[in-house]
């Protein structure tokens, strides 16, 4: 189960090297995303598409909001 975190956690963890992943479709990512985030749409999120991400860094996924 993913660990739920807040924006304060995101700020702290990214400062320490965490990788942020926007899981919205590419069109929404292109419009606007958290600075430094990479885009892997949820439907494509699997072992293969995350293979290039650092193995030792925490991963943070986000979408648009809580709903």
């Amino acid at each position: 189960m993913p660990i739920q975190i807040t924006r304060e956690d995101v700020q702290r963890m990214t400062a320490e090297g965490a990788v942020v992943i926007e899981v919205l479709p590419e069109s929404e990512y292109t419009e606007e995303h958290i600075v430094g985030a990479v885009n892997i749409p949820l439907r494509k999120l699997d072992r293969q598409t995350t293979a290039h991400l650092p193995k030792d860094a925490p991963l943070i996924a986000y979408c648009y909001d809580t709903d």
């Binding site: 660990i3 991963l59 909001d65």
Partner: protein
């Protein structure tokens, strides 16, 4: 894996940095006035009127003890009996919008209703809490200044 549950909307409404083709578009929270007076439903209209007019406004948002919007008082309430409770005059269910909504998304509604209450969204204890009031004139002005940004 960690799940940032607030997501992009939470990040944006707290003014944290975003990048991308349309980053910088203005949202309801950016333009909403945060200084509109509030009152409780059981306060007396005369007392509230004096407070609101002293603050230079003619609009007052009725909230409960947690800041959740219950209704609003408009200009015609100030002519009512001073001892009457706010709840006797408040307009229930005023139109609202979310703080993360872009101005260009809400401008058509604003042109119809004149102003929108900006309230926190979500199912937690903050859902429905007042953020501010977005007025049509403010939104029109900012959209004109902002119109070079892609939509």
């Amino acid at each position: 894996m960690h799940d940032f549950v607030g997501g992009k909307a939470d990040w944006a409404v707290h003014g944290l940095p975003l990048e991308g083709r349309t980053a910088g578009r203005r949202r309801a929270i950016d333009v909403a006035r945060k200084d509109i007076p509030t009152c409780g439903p059981h306060e007396r209209l005369g007392y509230v009127r004096n407070r609101v007019q002293a603050a230079g406004h003619d609009l007052c948002i009725v909230v409960n003890e947690r800041g959740i919007v219950l209704g609003r008082l408009r200009r015609d309430c100030w002519e009512r009996e001073a001892e009457a409770p706010v709840e006797d005059c408040m307009e229930l269910g005023p139109p609202t919008t979310r703080p993360d909504h872009f101005l260009h998304e809400v401008i058509q509604r604003l042109r119809k209703v004149g102003s929108l209450l900006v309230t926190w969204y979500g199912r937690d204890e903050d859902g429905g809490r007042l953020v501010g009031v977005l007025f049509r004139a403010d939104a029109e002005r900012v959209l004109q200044e902002n119109e070079r940004l892609p939509r």
